[in-house]
Amino acid sequence: MMDMDLIANILFATIRTGTPLLLVALGELVCEKSGILNLGQEGMMLMGAVVGFIAAFHSESLIVGFAIAILAGVIMSLLFGFIVIQLNANQVATGLALTIFGTGLSGFVGLNYVGESLKGLSEMPIPLLSDIPYLGVIFFSHDPLVYLSIFMTVAIYYFFRKTRAGLIVKAVGESPEASQAIGLPVYKIRYLAVMFGGGMAGLAGAYLSLVYTPLWADNMTAGRGWIALALVVFASWQVERAVVGAYLFGFMSIMHLILQGFDVSISANILATLPYVVTILVLVFLSKNQARIKLFAPVSLGKPFHRTN
């Protein structure tokens, strides 16, 4: 029988590790629902991470750090949005370019901060609930951003199920042509969706540099932006499935720590491939069912649309 405390700790770490993935995936999900595929998540996250760290480092305020990180993500996404929405460029290529640009720029901006550290965001156990044995540790002893990510999940679920605005985003994602014909402001809606995605990616980046490991290192996102993109496919564009997926990927990412804890003698480098291998396996498993993907994927996803007048 495994130690219950250990299991509780592993699950606690799973949620913590899954949170940045969840934040990015939620942002990208909203963005993709509007028909825009932004492969620049990794670049936006890196910018959020580095700018957030620098802002928090100098202002000595984590709140300022998070706010600036969100702003950085939004600005990056606007750059992307301008090129794909206004200039109608290929979304895949532009997203890639945004990642390459973000990687380069974050390395440049963060040059003098490599090796610096600061005091990260601490946990905020919820009174009473956190005292529940095991469950309290797993669910109610987290930092505020974990709670925020859950709140965002519920809010976005409600947004798509119950609000007219959510309906409009879905409509634009299905057919921008029809949307324009009935008078919906396609460009504006897509800009907003892209900016939301950027803000969430920036926040997720700052989660890494201000909470998860409070420091800045080049390329510290280590492919999480890409995994989040896979996560959206995994979730078949449904919010509730994104949460499950994020924690599943979170678990896989700490698998090597767990295995090392059990003295399994596998090279750390080989264990580090686990999240990526799992991502591929999950994608393969999902993509076998093309009918399901066709049913849920936003119809106009990734297709250019030029407003006529």
Partner: protein
């Protein structure tokens, strides 16, 4: 040109004056004047590209005119956007529906309304049921649109307009997606609306329908008003002349023939689909004889794409079915082998299936013509490729600069001629063609029909799948219809009527009283 005094303007619900819209390389609307009274049905007639749709989009605020004035109920108005048009009481039913497949009828209608009017969805649902029943167009608010037939989708569009106070209803080519019987129902609804005081603008190129429905007709040609008339008092030939000009012949009759031996045999073909919005083919059985044209009618979305893909080899058949040509079993062969065996195909979509938009005509000739000695040991032979393309352009009168211009730079009609020419020049023993004259002007349509008849008379087995029932009656020797992936009986064209084919198109296959074919799979 007409001079409007202020009383003049007040007398009409809508007055357009000198509307002009220039697109790059094309003057879509050239000083168009138009007047609309209450409770009257107007036809806007014209061929494809005459500028009808642009004019309607200007009225609906989708497109801004470069110059000209619009008076709405006596006041000069700049219609800025569709929401504005709706608030004025203008509704529009688009040719390509502006509906969202994954959303429900209710959600679709709510999105087309202003925010405040669509707040209470339950009340809206009740209103939808009420309005749709009043005009004989029953609708269920909670059905997702992708489960609806094309006719039902059009109802959603119309109900979306009627649910608000409507003064002017614009319908863009509304009958092209309907069976003849559905057309009758639509006309009844439109008459009822006009009687209640709604003005209606009916955009069409079908003269018979205009004659049956409209009080006034305005004819557009190349962006200008070429004439106007009272259709009920005017002959079809005269209206056609207004549409196409005096030089173009407007119709032609062809001799019906009885074909030779069975050539293409399609036996019990079934096709399932992994597309959630697709149609399943059920036990399709037919033969096409040597030297005859078999026509398959049907409203779009009843399995035409699936049948074409099954015949061309793009889709793999379910196990039971067989495609024999003439004796060889081609059921498991891909498009390559079928072409090698002497089949040729004209697909549904000209651009993005029949031709690659961003490639030159020469490359597009090579696309399916590669068996005509254009490739040797895997290497391309530029000379035969260019010669083949030149031949198509010359023989089929394709208007273009030369074989190097991009497929997408050609007009729809010219590209259609190119594709038909490309397939016919390969001297197929069997030609399968979808919508051979869709969107093509009348002159080009007649030359395509002549080419098909010539090919038939040389002994080729020809299968035509078309939504245009008049076209099928003109050129096919035998006819049938496709409904929900099932094929109706086949009869010689001379032995059937538009009414009978219309019933087939609606799924009524048996002669003895209207026993509906099972519609669910």
């Amino acid at each position: 040109m007409a001079t409007h005094t202020s009383e003049d303007v007040n007398e009409y619900r809508l007055v357009l004056e000198g509307i002009t819209k220039q697109y790059p390389g094309c003057l879509a609307n050239d000083h168009i004047d138009f007047k609309v009274k209450a409770g009257t049905i107007y036809a806007v007639l014209g061929e494809n590209g005459a500028g009808k749709s642009t004019l309607m989009k200007i009225i609906y605020g989708v497109v801004k005119p470069d110059s000209g004035r619009i008076f709405w109920e006596g006041k000069e108005t700049v219609i800025t956007e569709p929401v504005h048009a709706r608030n004025l009481g203008i509704g529009m039913v688009f040719q390509h529906f502006s509906l969202f497949e994954t959303l429900t009828v209710l959600e679709n209608i709510a999105l087309g309304m202003n925010k405040d009017d669509a707040k209470d969805l339950d009340a809206l649902a009740k209103k939808i049921v009420e309005v749709s029943n009043r005009y004989g167009m029953a609708l269920e608010p909670d059905r997702p649109v992708h489960t609806l037939s094309t006719g039902e989708r059009q109802r959603v569009e119309i109900v979306r307009c009627l649910i608000q106070d409507i003064k002017l209803l614009i319908l863009d080519e509304p009958t092209s997606v309907l069976t003849p019987q559905e057309v009758d129902t639509l006309f009844t609804t439109l008459h009822q609306l006009a009687a209640e005081g709604t003005s209606i603008m009916f955009i069409s190129h079908k003269l018979k329908e205009v004659q049956a429905l409209c009080d006034f007709a305005t004819v557009l040609r190349a962006g200008r008003v070429s004439g106007s008339c009272r259709p009920k008092e005017e002959s079809i030939t005269n209206m056609a002349k207004l549409m196409v000009g005096d030089e173009t012949p407007v119709s032609h009759d062809y001799q019906k023939v009885v074909g030779g031996d069975d050539f293409l045999r399609v036996v019990d073909v079934c096709l399932s689909t992994d597309n959630p919005f697709g149609v399943i083919l059920k036990n399709i059985d037919f033969t096409v004889k040597q030297g005859e044209i078999l026509g398959i009618a049907g409203v779009a979305g009843n399995g035409q794409s699936e049948l074409l893909a099954a015949l061309s080899g793009e889709s793999i058949l379910d196990e039971s079915g067989k495609i024999l040509f003439p004796e060889t079993d081609l059921s498991e062969q891909g498009p390559h082998i079928r072409r090698e065996a002497g089949m040729a195909f004209v697909p549904e979509d000209r651009l993005g299936q029949g031709a690659v938009p961003d490639m030159s005509l020469s490359d597009n000739g090579l696309l399916t013509g590669f068996f005509q000695g254009m490739v040797k040991k895997g290497l391309l032979l530029p000379k035969p490729i260019r010669a083949f393309t030149r031949n198509i352009i010359k023989k089929y009168n394709v208007k273009c600069i030369d074989g190097n211009c991009m497929a997408k730079s050609l007009s729809g009609g010219n590209l259609q001629k190119f594709i038909i020419g490309r397939e016919i020049l390969q001297q197929p023993r069997c030609l399968i063609a979808a919508h051979p004259t869709w969107g093509v002007d009348i002159g080009a349509a007649i030359s395509i029909h002549k080419a098909l008849i010539t090919l038939r008379d040389r002994g080729t087995a020809i299968l035509i799948i078309s939504e245009d029932i008049d076209e099928l009656f003109t050129i096919s020797d035998r006819m049938c219809a496709l409904f929900h992936g099932q094929l109706s009986p086949i009869k010689p064209t001379a032995d059937t009527t538009i009414e009978e084919v219309g019933r087939w198109m609606a799924g009524v296959f048996s002669d003895e009283e209207h026993h509906q074919v099972e519609t669910l799979s």
